[in-house]
Subunit: 342 residues, 2 copies
DNA sequence: TTGTAAGCGTTATCAA
DNA sequence: TTGATAACGCTTACAA
């Protein structure tokens, strides 16, 4: 019942023909007698023959795999993106490697290296820092890459991203329109490109609204609930440079961070939007059902994934050096976590 | 600056030695003169040499890749699991293929086939139906497999899962203890093994509580918000066999489905737990912050991923035929979505 | 200490 | 219409 390794050679022995005849028959080469072809195909089926992609790839330089490297596999924001990527790939017959860089530059570098070693034909990366662009740039000749989730510093690389400055602006203007002037920014890691863009949008918009910018109101931190809760603990308890009365609203780089604020609200008994108004970013699916429903800036996540994958496959299949840069627009979802103050 | 293909042969030319000397030097073979070794390693570094994994894999039958096949990449439930899987793999130097079967048997089969073709050394699968076990069983000789998220029908395969019957029992008993006797079960797809186990737990527990089982109170449906909302619409509008007054509580196979009920509550104006009490399953991270916080049955997702990956790697590295079956325990998280009625 | 040669499973070219 | 042969890049006896 069990056969050691069902290879072309193995089938050739069984069929009593040469292995190259089998190869041709399996490719339905019309040069081979139609009956022999049929017969061989039948045998292949019977023995459950599966071409060895490694050998194939070695020979053809094609592996039909692409790598996706993101900063947090668990985040609903990213999962919606690679869900979409996976769908496109599946449809086009590609397989997806997935790796988590955890916002760590070293790990990202390692992931890129591993994927290239695995022979991926393309890469989709949400990079940790500007530096990582350089890595990929260095390697661009060998692997096509599409960057997502941030605007690269150079314009000769392919990317799909949402304008984070515009997003921050949307958030700030909404809060200002609701009467807020002291806005705490709970940003992501400092080296993260999107953090930087978001912070710039925050600064510029405050300026445009004639509100003085205060450096201490911008916090760079890891994007997770525990870190955020801890930070809020410190603020509420007076152990931070920022005091509880220094702000009336909070803007976050991510809905996950916003949920961290909700968590702190539960433990410290402050209320949203009573004590603090909160505006998130991403619009992950559960935010609509939070208590209170979170006002947030929507990112077209599925679209990001679809576009990135499509772009990548196109540039792979056409051997073209694609430099398309697609900028998607954020959108305000006004819900109940912002209070109007006088 | 750019070199066509940095292979061992290429390095050999540069170093002026034979290619096998290079191969050995790169493996730090002590047979090679230490100076030559150093020199070659330096050159390799300089030219950014990266061994071709395809060739390596072809030769060694080792690809250092494993495949993960799940039913819904986007679900926070699964993402927590493969986050954990990815962490274990990364640490052990493996790369992960990820594929989505969308609860479709055909797609699952295709995914398994693709992964095997890619030469994965192992597979972690949350299978769509009992049938798919057979597929993998058939192929067990070639690829080690660990099943997660459901109890297989046979006991000679390796798996890690939470006892869904126990979970359903926990949910039902909690509701019964709160005075509920008419409980709607919003289950998953009918062929899904976990749906079946959950339904059995529901039935058995009702029986144990001396509550008559009513077949029409069990709904098999896709696990997503839209489907659930639609179903609830029909019920509320009287377009379903089940009428709005037929039940006072709802148990769901997944927190995502529970959120669908929350969604329906918003549009139809019924309240949770006022109109209906709700108990979810999975304990995905956002449930704690919903309005109201969702009472749910916790599954140890991270642990599932870690155990599955560890088990798999062990059986790969020891060439052992591992048949461990690990059963994890669910846990009630009592929050505010269940009302006590008299 | 270094080099030669065979083989992993394909594909593709050329000869029979 | 079929078969022999070389090549993809690597590992590993074995020979020099």
């Amino acid at each position: 019942m069990k056969h050691p390794n069902v290879t072309i050679k193995f089938l050739a022995d069984i069929a009593g023909v040469s292995f190259s005849t089998v190869a041709k028959a399996l490719h339905n080469d019309p040069a081979i007698n139609i009956d022999t072809r049929r017969r061989i195909q039948k045998i292949a089926e019977e023995y459950n023959y599966r071409p060895n992609i490694l050998a194939k790839g070695l020979r053809n330089r094609r592996t039909k795999t692409i790598g996706v490297i993101l900063n947090d596999l668990q985040s609903p924001f990213y999962s919606e993106i690679y869900k979409a990527i996976g769908d496109v790939l599946e449809q086009k017959g590609y397989t997806m490697f997935l790796a988590d860089s955890k916002y760590e530059e070293e790990l990202e570098k390692k992931n890129i290296s591993t994927m290239i070693g695995q022979g991926v034909e393309g890469l989709i990366v949400s990079s940790v820092s500007e530096a990582s662009e350089n890595i990929a740039l260095l390697l661009r000749e060998s692997v096509k890459t599409v960057f997502i989730d941030n605007r690269p510093s150079r314009d000769d690389i392919c990317c799909v991203y949402v304008d984070h400055e515009a997003a921050a602006s949307l958030a700030i203007r909404h809060l200002v329109a609701s009467g807020h002037r002291n806005i705490l920014l709970l940003n992501g890691p400092e080296n993260l490109p999107s953090s930087q863009h978001f912070a710039r949008g925050y600064r510029e918009t405050l300026k445009a609204c004639h509100i003085p910018y205060r450096d201490e109101l911008v916090k760079f931190n890891a994007i997770d609930i525990a870190t955020t809760t801890h930070l809020m603990d410190n603020i509420i308890n007076g152990n931070d440079a920022v005091k509880p009365d220094d702000f009336t609203a909070i803007v976050t780089l991510s809905d996950v961070t916003a949920i961290g604020v909700y968590d702190a609200a539960m433990t410290h008994g402050f209320t949203i939007p009573g004590t603090y108004s909160v505006v998130g970013y991403d619009n992950i699916f559960s935010t609509k059902y939070l208590n209170p429903p979170l006002t947030t800036i929507h990112q077209p996540k599925e679209q990001t994934g679809v576009l990135a994958a499509t772009l990548l496959l196109e540039s792979i299949e056409n051997q073209a050096c694609n430099m398309t840069q697609i900028i998607l627009n954020p959108e305000l979802k006004s819900r109940a976590s912002v209070r109007i103050i006088s």
